[in-house]
């Protein structure tokens, strides 16, 4: 256990507490993914067994190299008939034409309309699945303007897991049923977006069985992964009282929501830029609770990052949830309850559950 994470207060107001558990993950509908793939790549995935598909986390296309699937137990190559193989030479090799065609399908024939997405290196497709791109970058004043000669695509499969954040209900709401500012910390691929989505849903809809009412939530979905909006309409359940600002930079989005939608909760995924901190502090000063996620494997690591240090130590967040994939994606590793104003040696307070 981290020296920072020493138990001081354990919150208990009759709500369910967290347990280290494996979140039950429902695989995405295959029909959401297949239309974005070139026929040559689509065929092996159509023939892929349901059990392997259920464990799939990513589909990787690398031009001139074998088609592969990333699962919870590692990478597998896929043969043209959709069988997993350890022999790369018998796997389906992704051609240049298949790569370009898949790119065109992912962009719906509109690369020009996704220049901002190319600048960030990924495109979000219908269903909230994120397609990462690599290739030759074109720079403009030292910044990536676009990616040309795309040589590889990584389709990260988005999953909606209703109830994923349910073990956190007692921390998401305080004793009076008000939302509590929470930071979800995890390394990539540990389910923080999934947990955030469900937490947003719970905060928005409330939890009637515990007498917890719903709140107005403003979600800044910069990467379109949380609500997975398609033409402005959320494809994932983010709650009845959630207003989504899709594909908007977080800092600008927070101010816009505060001005326009008077949210009681502001939610944002993957904070980490200096302007994010300023915007979230501004949100907190208006009385809104903040729920956000950040990359990191521990609180110490996050607190050591210059961009996040002030947010973590400044008392904005009351609860810190640390995820891992020790027992699969979405494993709630630890919940630290209490402000971490004294974070850093010597260790400050915070309740650790369990």
């Amino acid at each position: 256990m981290s020296p920072l994470e020493t138990a001081v207060v354990r919150r208990s107001h009759g709500l369910p507490g967290p347990t280290r558990r494996r979140v039950s993950v429902r695989p995405p509908d295959r029909s959401e993914i297949l239309p974005y793939l070139a026929p040559g790549v689509r065929r092996p995935l159509e023939r892929l067994g349901d059990d392997l598909w259920a464990r799939a986390e990513e589909v990787r296309l690398r031009r001139g190299r074998p088609l592969s699937l990333v699962t919870d137990t590692g990478d597998v190559w896929l043969s043209p008939s959709g069988l997993p193989t350890e022999d790369a030479s018998s796997a389906h090799v992704v051609t240049a034409d298949e790569t370009m065609k898949t790119l065109s399908l992912v962009c719906e024939g509109s690369v020009y309309a996704l220049e901002e997405e190319f600048r960030h290196g990924f495109v979000t497709v219908r269903g909230g699945h994120r397609v990462g791109l690599v290739g030759r970058t074109v720079l403009d004043n030292g910044r990536v303007r676009t990616i040309t000669h795309v040589g590889g695509l990584n389709i990260r499969l988005s999953r909606e897991v209703r109830g994923a954040a349910r073990p956190l209900v007692r921390w998401l709401f305080d004793r009076r049923g008000r939302p509590v500012s929470t930071l979800i910390v995890s390394p990539p691929g540990c389910g923080k977006t999934t947990i955030l989505r469900d937490a947003v849903r719970l905060l928005s809809d409330g939890v009637p069985e515990f007498g917890l009412k719903g709140h107005r939530v403003g979600l800044v979905d910069e990467r379109s992964e949380v609500a997975a909006c398609y033409e402005g309409v959320p494809q994932r359940d983010v709650g009845l009282r959630t207003d989504v600002l899709d594909a908007c930079p977080k800092a600008e989005g927070v101010f816009l929501l505060l001005r326009a939608m008077s949210p009681e909760v502001i939610a944002a995924d993957e904070i980490g830029r200096p302007e994010d901190a300023a915007a979230l502090n501004e949100a907190a000063s208006t009385g809104a609770a903040v729920i956000a996620t950040a990359h990191g494997s521990s609180l110490e690591e996050v607190a050591a990052r210059p961009m996040l240090r002030d947010l973590v130590r400044g008392g904005l967040f009351r609860v810190f949830v640390i995820l891992s994939r020790r027992s699969g994606p979405g494993t709630i590793e630890r919940v630290v309850d209490g402000p971490l104003r004294g974070l850093g040696p010597p260790a400050g307070g915070g309740a650790v559950v369990p």
């Binding site: 065109s104 399908l105 962009c107 719906e108 024939g109 509109s110 690369v111 020009y112």
Partner: protein, 175 residues
Amino acid sequence: MRLFLEVAGFLAVVGAFAAAGNLVAASYRARTVQLAAFRTGLDLLETEVTFAAAAMPLALERVGAGLAPPVGTVFQRAAAYLRSGAGVSAGEAWERAARDVFPDTALEGDDLDVLLALAPYLGVTDREDQRRHLRLAAERLRAREEAARAEQGAAERMWRYLGVLGGLACGLVFL
């Protein structure tokens, strides 16, 4: 009575030949009109792509809706192919639609080649590059349209006269 029938037959033959000549002449005029319509369509598509950044299916649909068939049909059919979910890229959709509709147009094979040359670039590059390719295709169409217009004047007259004169010649032979 016989004279009446002969005159009527003569007029019918002349009329049929004149109509056939007019039909050929009209195809020259139609080609010019359709080339101009395709050029307008590509200009509109450039606007949709570079200013509105509209998604390609929507952009093609909007442009197609504003143009008369068969030119508008090419744009709308390309949009339909793109929306079909059959794994068709924008370039393939454009190529298929142009080939499908080509028999219903007055275009020549070289005109079709200009349209098909756009396919590999359609929708797969950034706005600036799309603008370049769309303008290039529009310019090539303009050049073909001007050549077609120059050809149209002489050819239209020739086919009209040929129709009437051919009809007269045939009619006289039958008399």
